[in-house]
Assembly symmetry: C3
Homo-oligomer: 406 residues x 3
Amino acid sequence: MPMHEYESMLSRPLNIKIPEFSHNQRIRHLIFSAQFDPHTLNKLFHTADKIRSLAKSKEGHIFLKSLLPHKKALLYFTQPSTRTFLSFDAACQTLGMGVQSVQDRSLSSESKGETPIDSVRMFSSYYDMVIMRSVTPNLAECCAYMMNELGSESRRNTPIINAGAGADEHPTQALLDIYTIERAMSFYHPKNSSHWNLYDELRQNHPNLTPGLNGKTIGFCGDVRRGRTVRSLLTLLAKYKDVKVYFITANHEILRLSNDLRARLQNLFVEVREFESFEQTMEDGKPVINHLDCLYMTRIQKEHNSASLDEDLSSIDFSRYKLNKQRVTMMRDYAAILHPFPRDDNFGEIPIEVDTDPRAHYFRQARNGMWARAALISHIFDVDGEIADFYERYTAESKDYNEGVL
Amino acid sequence: MPMHEYESMLSRPLNIKIPEFSHNQRIRHLIFSAQFDPHTLNKLFHTADKIRSLAKSKEGHIFLKSLLPHKKALLYFTQPSTRTFLSFDAACQTLGMGVQSVQDRSLSSESKGETPIDSVRMFSSYYDMVIMRSVTPNLAECCAYMMNELGSESRRNTPIINAGAGADEHPTQALLDIYTIERAMSFYHPKNSSHWNLYDELRQNHPNLTPGLNGKTIGFCGDVRRGRTVRSLLTLLAKYKDVKVYFITANHEILRLSNDLRARLQNLFVEVREFESFEQTMEDGKPVINHLDCLYMTRIQKEHNSASLDEDLSSIDFSRYKLNKQRVTMMRDYAAILHPFPRDDNFGEIPIEVDTDPRAHYFRQARNGMWARAALISHIFDVDGEIADFYERYTAESKDYNEGVL
Amino acid sequence: MPMHEYESMLSRPLNIKIPEFSHNQRIRHLIFSAQFDPHTLNKLFHTADKIRSLAKSKEGHIFLKSLLPHKKALLYFTQPSTRTFLSFDAACQTLGMGVQSVQDRSLSSESKGETPIDSVRMFSSYYDMVIMRSVTPNLAECCAYMMNELGSESRRNTPIINAGAGADEHPTQALLDIYTIERAMSFYHPKNSSHWNLYDELRQNHPNLTPGLNGKTIGFCGDVRRGRTVRSLLTLLAKYKDVKVYFITANHEILRLSNDLRARLQNLFVEVREFESFEQTMEDGKPVINHLDCLYMTRIQKEHNSASLDEDLSSIDFSRYKLNKQRVTMMRDYAAILHPFPRDDNFGEIPIEVDTDPRAHYFRQARNGMWARAALISHIFDVDGEIADFYERYTAESKDYNEGVL
């Protein structure tokens, strides 16, 4: 695979690499979830909230579309992913960007001997951002190095976004996941008013509850080992204070937490515990599911299994790793259930009977992906300040208007 | 197929279902052609005429694009149909909507066990309208129920448009077909003036001729039974007064009118007659083709035939069900020939020698699809009033300008 | 193949055909590279330069997008070509056009017996320009005749652009190639000023050097015979004065210059010479590579080779037809290396070590494709005058602004 020019750079440690993907205190290329620190995350959360709010009115939406009409994005998805693809498309469109896509690998020039690096360099000469999802490991990272090299020669340094790659990272999924948890843990409710708010009410039953990610307990259930979304999200959670992470998985080496990851989390002062069922009791006699602020469900990835592995797994009682109405009732009233989707209707880790429970956040999680990605793109192109300014004027005007000043 | 939640609703009668797909006297989800009543059709025809007219000037076109820039449509076409796909795309673009598409079923998450209902719910969280064409029967209808359910929980009720499904209905094809007939039967001509108009001229030879669909005789030729466009169009024609419907088909059960449909049409007071050739004479001694106001040709669908059926059909003289110049000359001078397209060049139901005849309406029928679909979308999003207002001002100004007032 | 209506027109001579593809001194349909004369090329070069310059600022870009928002293009690419596809997409978007594409032949109605002429006529009723790349030879030409016929009946004459077809012409590739050579031979440099410019400096060593294409020596290396881009470009070069064309190829009938083309070039007063290596010396004792103003490299097209041909070619020393750093150093300091791309990493006609040499123009050549195609489209739709006007005002304002007048 002819990426030889950049391959020697891949093995360097993250703390050397990460600054190379930033420019003027902004992310230029998004390759790893480790590029997100709590300060940047906080800014992105606020921008995402504002975009979401502005997109509700035609006027706000037209403002958003006026931000990047001079920019075009290419969605280069040789590894298919309808959800991620559409979510990025909608995010780009919301900011007024033109969008085009290359989805079929066989259409590309690679069959004529072109290297993927040449292909992406060519794309970057037509488009202002390349959002890529590839089966080739580290391709996005190598392309970011190539772009930086061009930039150092005063040529176009087109931003590269890693939209998931093979068994690699999926940093924008981690971003939307943590944004969804943060929103759920802000206890904001559309009906909050000066007379009533959800947080005050929740504190009646949960006196130690604080808003935000610090101190929260997050459960992960299902395919903890192979799910790259889990790894990417854990990278971000570990940056918050006093986070506890509980894994609820079958005790099989293909599914449970790896020793590596456990050690890595513990080094970052994350409290890690492992359970084999939702009902397993804790020191206070209550089941673990009742201790969770957030439960991240995953699909058991069977499509990559060998026949022998399938047989090996056949002795596991998988019903333990599926939600149902009864189990959900055991959860705290404010807890949030997430799932990176698609969920597997045949396996049934989340049956549709759970969908109408207020704790089900997985559909809004999908929609959050659009807002979080739009926030990221506005950060990269340095228009998040314009969004904040417009939002302030716009809401002030609405307030004036509602109060009769205008 | 896991649409179990909504499957019990499918068997209810149409008159119960239809109101569920409307909101504030407007169509919200378009699932069946029976949702169109003559009043709504008339409004859609007028809107389509105005959109067509405004799109001719850059100024008018820019106005149209200002209507829905804050809306995005997803074309979810897992059953391919280039014509319908492009026509919807062009309609959406004309109104300023962003468009994205999912066309390859294999790209979707269904391979990971996701239900089509979950997929469409996810799409509906990124896009403001889902236009779908699927091989799964009734999927659009089930999705509309799902959306209504979300709407009842104060969540997004994203409009669903059925763009054709398996052997089901194809309501927007029926809409463009009847719009084309209505326009042809309005006897409007670009050269109409205060001194001359086409309708007055035609009445010299056809003293009983009236503009509009009432009282018209529509012929259907070819594959009457399997063509879903025929069924959908008949549903609409039956809503007009004194419509006569003549079928010109081979007397074979796979091609001719079904007993069911004949009975249904007769119950709706439609005069139904069947013929085996264009030349078959009527009571006045003239061939049936001379009695038609409109002739709807269809392609004989051979791609679904079994070998035994093909043999069975081999004794039929299909040359009877093909047009040619000579047959067209037997038609009335104002009659309109339609075809849902594609026409089959190998079979030759309409040879290209007919294309330049003024009675050939099939290419403008295709273009009408774009205007009719744009009209429908502007109706659903409640911007047809804005179109009417702008059109009035715009044409008044042009008139003033032409008369020297401006 | 049912294009019979127009097939008899194909064999007519070019000088009869070419005027049919123009309207009001503008290209209406672009089918052949021979449609470009030096006057039109010169206008297109200037428009492309202005578009490139305006696209650099958000304000300029927004002006460009205001030119054709009322137009929609269809990219009908049944023969895949990612590069050409994306380049046209980006060009259309830059001018504000809506873009849709049909890329999968199997999606089209041809499987139902529709002729390609019917398909394109249908497309032309939804879109305002059809940009097509097809495996069917001469399809674009036949479609242009069809459109002209419709135009003669006062119907829509939608412009057709040939984006490459089988072994046929590829006129927009020729356009971007010659635009790239012309720019390289204008000796313009971003650092040119009143005190220093590149041209004056170069003349110290090359006293006879003149700006522009006249009198230049262009080398072609590699697959001279089968490369349609070579033929299309030669058609344009032959229109300039005193152009010399040197071919550097293996002496094998499948690769070297054909007798036909040699005779045709000589009839047009082009000096043609053939060489078997870059190092072959000329009359002055210097290697041929040192005499070139421009070197056009090509990929050896192996994907169409038979096994017997592959064996036949195995005795050739192909290392002679590959560039490397050492060979590039033998070139003139101002010379330009082009390649239509993709380059073949396995064959290695241009190794990446050459990429950073200032003579490497092949990546900017790709980007030039976007500007040259945008210039062509603005010419066809007659908005190039608007571009020139805005550009003049805009640069005057910037100048005033910089000089403190504003």
